[in-house]
């Protein structure tokens, strides 16, 4: 590999060690046009075939008897098999190239499909969204002045109300979720093995539930409202009834943004399990001897918790906090489903959806996304910084 250009001179009459000569040819291999051609043609054909078959699912469903199961199974087989075949052909084509080129190109060939998808689905749209945010409601012409969508948003009281709600969500939900997660993880650690497993399963379970179903659950069982005089079917109003008070439509009460707080409870309920699982594995990683040492020194359990355990799981706390923070910044489903932003519960992501879907205002919708993107930027930079520090330790 070190000297690819030097070919060993053919020596006649001297017995050649077959193995070394083969290794040498493999190392100094030049261009193999047939292999390259076969690989390129094969890869191109695979892509062409996959593309057309997938488009046929959309354009000519009758070819597949309009059968959803057939299409899904075909898509799975062709998607996975085709991807494998594509990489096999690409690998073949590049192996046909001279050795030095092969080593240079192979990594990029392996990255290409993944990065093409990221480019098409995330990078290109990001740039286009920024572009569209200066354009009109159908993204066909620029506004005059170009920043008119932003002016509209910044002078709109509803926008600032949504921002305030987002800030409340950001301030409250990640902190409460992480705090609850830590407490539960610590308490669960003190239980017997079976008790720990069971109690954690119950708290972890909502992880599998969608935001929509969770909204249905809380609406039905906790926040629901029946007119006065009728029996109350949900918990909060039943408690009020038991105290002789009139029922309330909880999600309409914006005094102190109570309705937003009630919606936050649903997200906390969904996410505490996630926080608990990560924090629990971090707590189990805290070395026992540090705890023993603190106990011998006579520290109370509370002091051990704050001064021994917490500092050692700080990294995980930050990870969990950021993950939930990112989730909360984009929170949409719960608000859309339960209040649709009415009674001062609106948030940025719901406003985006309303402008785009209901009002057909693509310009304003994309401007909202750009603002969301700018808000997420510090988190993004922090993530990259954190990643670099981790890599440096590796």
């Amino acid at each position: 590999m070190s000297t690819p250009s030097s070919t060993p001179p053919p020596v006649t009459g001297v017995p050649v060690n077959r193995e070394t000569s083969e290794v040498a040819t493999a190392d100094n291999r030049g261009l193999q046009p047939l292999k390259v051609l076969a690989g390129v043609v094969g890869a191109a054909f695979t892509l062409w075939f996959m593309g057309n078959l997938f488009l046929a699912f959309a354009y000519y469903p009758q070819w597949f008897f309009n059968n959803k199961v057939v299409m899904a199974i075909l898509a799975l087989v062709v998607g996975v098999g085709g991807a494998a075949l594509f990489f096999w052909f690409v690998n073949m084509a590049i192996e046909g190239l001279p050795r030095r080129l092969e080593h240079g190109l192979m990594p990029y060939a392996f990255l290409l499909p993944g990065f093409s998808l990221i480019g098409l689905m995330l990078l290109y749209p990001t740039i286009q969204t920024i572009n569209f945010s200066f354009a009109n409601r159908t993204s066909t012409a620029y506004m005059d002045p170009p920043w008119a969508n932003y002016t509209y948003l910044f002078t709109n009281a509803g926008f600032w109300s949504a921002i305030l709600n987002n800030v409340l969500w950001i301030v409250i939900v990640p902190a409460v979720t992480v705090a609850l997660g830590v407490v539960i993880a610590v308490l669960a650690d003190k239980l017997s093995a079976a008790g720990e497993k069971w109690s954690k399963s119950f708290i972890f379970l909502p992880m599998a539930i969608s935001f929509v179903a969770a909204s249905a659950i809380w609406q039905t069982t906790v926040y629901g409202y029946q007119p006065p005089g009728q029996p109350q079917t949900a918990l909060l109003n039943a408690i009020r009834g038991a105290m002789g008070q009139e029922p309330l439509a909880w999600l309409s009460i914006d005094t102190g943004r109570l309705n937003s707080l009630l919606l936050m409870v649903i997200l906390v309920w969904l996410q505490v399990g996630f926080a608990m699982v990560l924090l629990s594995s971090a707590i189990k990683g805290v070395p026992d001897d540090t705890l023993e040492a603190a106990r011998i020194d006579g520290a109370s359990e509370l002091k051990i918790f704050f001064q021994v355990i917490i500092p050692q799981i700080k990294g995980t706390i930050v990870t969990v906090f950021i993950t939930i923070l990112i989730l909360v910044m984009k929170v949409f489903d719960i608000i859309y489903v339960l209040t649709n932003g009415n009674n001062n519960t609106d948030v940025i992501a719901n406003m985006f959806f309303r402008e785009m879907f209901t009002n057909q205002q693509a310009g304003r919708a994309t401007a909202i996304v750009v603002i969301l993107l700018v808000a997420i930027l510090p988190v993004l930079i922090y993530q990259v910084k954190l990643f670099r520090e981790q890599e440096a330790v590796r």
């Binding site: 488009l55 959309a58 354009y59 959803k68 299409m71 899904a72 898509a75 998607g79 996975v80 991807a83 990489f87 073949m92 990594p107 990029y108 392996f110 499909p113 993944g114 998808l117 990221i118 689905m121 995330l122 749209p125 990001t126 286009q128 569209f132 539960i184 308490l187 669960a188 003190k190 239980l191 093995a193 008790g195 399963s201 119950f202 708290i203 909502p206 992880m207 599998a208 539930i209 969608s210 929509v212 179903a213 249905a216 039905t220 069982t221 906790v222 029946q226 029996p231 079917t233 309920w269 399990g273 993950t323 990112i326 785009m356 996304v369 997420i376 993004l380 993530q383 990259v384 670099r388």
Partner: protein, 287 residues
């Protein structure tokens, strides 16, 4: 010592036993309340709280009617099928593409490697909302004309899941011994062979972990399904969302619909819980 000990010698902690019991109950009861309500007729459910139905079951009328109705009137069977047809390919296909990229990031050296991986870390945080307007244009009637079909949603979830999948698999692969790849190279194996015969099988735990997470995300997603699927192709979650908009007559179907939407993810969740935990510990931040 008056305090009793557990089998492993630790002291029992009555405080944590009580608190954890209460918390587990609190976390479980809302879901259970929904289940209890879903098996009652509308009039029966309106008689009072779901907890009263448990205390005095004879006072209520129990029925499967909500479930049969939600399948008959709301086309829930079709929606369930759609959900599977959307979620399974959208879970598996990204893994193929991402695994090769993760292999390159772990076992190959090339210029701009760090910069390219930082792009992956960065786009994991980017909200998917950035993609909607441009991709509605690209996939909609003025572009490819595939919006409304499964294909559009498969492509979207494949793209959106890609950064996390590459990140998770690369983290796992870098824990594999580098020497096996080196010795396979000396034996003359091509990179494709090394990937296919050695690295892919060894990465199965990480692949299963990502697949579990991605399945839950795709199945439970509302936004993409609502924007990119036509009504006949739409998923269970969108159906439940539409049901939630109904008031009065038909509102009793919400409970049954919501429960149907939870069944499959719950099964996946309980069978693959260990993988899920491992996947999350490997760093699950999704944009």
């Amino acid at each position: 010592m008056s305090r009793s000990r557990m089998k492993d010698g630790r002291y029992r902690s009555p405080l944590s036993m009580v608190v954890m019991f209460v918390l587990a109950l609190l976390w479980f009861l809302p879901t259970f309340g929904l289940l209890v309500t879903s098996f009652q007729t509308r009039d029966s459910a309106l008689k009072g709280g779901w907890w009263e139905a448990l205390i005095n079951p004879a006072s209520r009328i129990w029925t499967f009617e909500n479930y049969t109705k939600v399948f008959e009137q709301q086309d829930m069977g079709n929606a369930f099928l759609n959900g599977i047809a959307v979620a399974v390919p959208a879970t598996i296909i990204p893994i193929m593409f991402a695994a090769f990229a993760a292999y390159a990031f772990t076992f190959m050296d090339f210029p701009f490697k760090d910069a390219l991986f930082i792009i992956i870390v960065a786009v994991m945080v980017v909200p998917t909302q950035v993609a909607f307007q441009p991709l509605l244009n690209l996939l909609g009637p003025n572009g490819l004309g595939i919006s409304g079909q499964y294909l559009a949603v498969w492509i979207l979830h494949t793209g959106f899941g890609m950064p996390l999948c590459i990140y998770t698999l690369r983290n796992y692969m870098s824990s594999l011994p580098f020497s096996i790849v080196e010795s396979a190279r000396i034996d003359g194996c091509s990179n494709f062979q090394i990937f296919w015969k050695l690295i892919a099988p060894m990465s199965m735990p990480a692949i299963a972990a990502f697949a579990t997470l991605q399945f839950l995300w795709v199945w439970n997603d509302l936004l993409i399904a609502k924007l990119f699927l036509s009504n006949s192709n739409t998923t269970v979650i969108v159906k439940v969302q539409q049901l939630l908009g109904t008031q009065g007559q038909g509102a009793e179907l919400i409970t049954a619909g919501a429960f149907i939407s939870m069944v499959l993810p719950m099964i996946v969740f309980f069978t693959l819980q260990n993988f899920l935990v491992r996947g999350m510990t490997a760093g699950a931040v999704k944009g």
